[in-house]
Amino acid sequence: MAFKIASSPHVGNTLQTAKVMQRVALCLLPGIAAQLYFFGFGTLFQIAIAVITAYAAEAVILAMRNRPIKSTLADNSALVTALLLAIAIPPLAPWWIIVIGTLFSIIIVKHLYGGLGNNLFNPAMAGYVLLLISFPVQMTDWVSPMSAAQQSVTLSYAWQVVFDSASDILLAGHNLAIDGTTMATPLDTLKTDLSMGITTHESLAKPIFSGMAGLGWFEVNFAFLIGGLIMLKLKVIRWQISVGILSALFLCSSFGFLLNPDTHVSPIMHLFSGGTMLAAFFIATDPVTAATSARGRIIFGAMIGVLIYVIRTFGGYPDAVAFAVLLANMCAPFIDHYVRPRAYGHRSGS
């Protein structure tokens, strides 16, 4: 009988890219559901537009690059990018916002760097940053959270606002009817209040901060946390990056809160507002743009956590997740260079 000789690794992994991406997309569902419940149906249209745009752009650029179109489209990576971007932007943003963002993510950030696996930056977050610095007015107008019973953003209303070109004028604040449904995010409100000399205590008494970290925002973040834990259980992601981000953010914000509670908000607010949970479990854990070794991932995560706190507290933008992730992406090769796992049989440090 013939002995089959195969080189290592001997334990195979059956998890293919398409499967991993599919599971990531499925684990996003609780968070998406919570967002639909509290912020209305706008997100649904954003997701639809983003997915269609992403697949179309990917197909065109694959054809231009002479790459296999069908098999690459089936790896679901464009789907995840589109979903993340659609979740991150305001639900009632006009349709061209998400189209520009998705095209930039897929074409410039992903394919100009060589496609999936070669991109230096997280495509969804780079697209988000492009939109945030290009269209600050549209990107900071969030829907007021409310429970479904009194939900004013119905399907037809969302359709009207997202696709009606007049919505540009509406969102700019000239129409009273819509002013009731959009407002700044809790983090944004807090930043504005602090710059006006109002203490956090007074600011947090506003109705937008009802609940533990702002109405709706806490629940949405909690839903993403659940989705993230399911991914951990399914071994789609490893724990190091998420734990790194959350613990670093918790430590920094606790320190600030204990030092001066008048100008710093509680750690709970930091952990469960804005895009913290989405970033910790779904965005920063992107295997392409993160550090690769276990220790490297903890450093990578901690770096994002610290950056989120620093940019949120001292920076000019309302939320810091996208900037923190991009800055850490840049450092990932550097971290990998200096943090190398010890090879078996070698002493550490040699």
């Binding site: 410039i108 492009l130 610095i133 290009s134 269209f135 600050p136 007015v137 549209q138 540009d168 004028i169 700019a172």
Partner: protein
């Protein structure tokens, strides 16, 4: 190909200071938010470049090699000061909108680079022509970049042309479309970097296509017998 044709080709395309040598990127990226600014800075650089090439070529035989760089820099600085004063006097609006980047032409690597690499080794006529062609190549890149960013960013062309040409040029401004929300990225420095990258990519694509279109010359493989002894 005569010497002049070669100089023109080098300056305008194959050794373009903006797209190939990547010199003078700082003003290239900073002032190209509108076509007017780009044109203004491009012409100012062009004048300085021609002047410095002429002067450097004239003094090249009298300047000791050891101190040539300080001498070149002083020549360039004197010319830049002239241009700055001229712009200040005749196009004050442009002077204000170009700001620090006008005096910074002194540090533009294109100028010292051409002085050192070309003008200090070539005759007066060749040097002057080289300065003109390099300047035109640089200006062309600035204008294309400025036009792209202005159209994408605010949907206009020649906005503020009156700053450069006087009041009559106000009518030159072309509104291609009405933008309610300026596409800020195109007007900000990151947009300039991205647009610049795409321009360089476009040039490389054109070069590649031209190369493919040329008939393939069969390369002659020369088999040579070894005549030296292998030790």
């Amino acid at each position: 190909m005569s010497k002049y044709q070669d100089i023109a080709k080098q300056g305008l395309w194959s050794n373009n200071p903006g797209l190939v040598q990547l010199l003078g990127l700082c003003p290239l990226l900073a002032v190209t938010a509108t076509i007017t600014n780009a044109l203004g800075l491009g012409v100012a650089t062009l004048i300085v470049l021609v002047g410095s090439n002429i002067l450097v070529s004239l003094v090249r035989d009298f300047v000791p090699k050891e101190i040539r760089i300080p001498v070149f820099v002083m020549i360039i600085a004197a010319l830049v000061t002239c241009v700055q004063l001229l712009v200040n006097a005749y196009a004050y609006g442009l002077y204000l909108s170009l700001g620090i980047f006008l005096p910074l032409i002194v540090t533009n690597c294109v100028i010292i680079g051409r002085a050192e690499a070309f003008a200090s080794r070539n005759s007066l006529a060749h040097s002057a022509f080289d300065g003109l062609m390099m300047g035109l190549g640089f200006t062309a890149v600035l204008v294309v970049l400025g036009a792209t960013r202005e159209v994408l960013g605010q949907g206009t062309l020649f906005d503020g042309a009156d700053l450069l040409l006087g009041d009559w040029a106000k009518s030159l401004t072309i509104h291609l479309w009405q933008v309610d929300n300026a596409f800020l990225l195109a007007l900000l420095p990151p947009g300039a970097f991205i647009a610049m990258g795409l321009l360089i990519a476009l040039k490389n694509v054109i070069d590649l296509k031209m190369k493919q279109r040329q008939p393939q010359m069969p390369t002659q493989i020369v088999e040579r017998a070894r005549i030296t002894k292998v030790s």
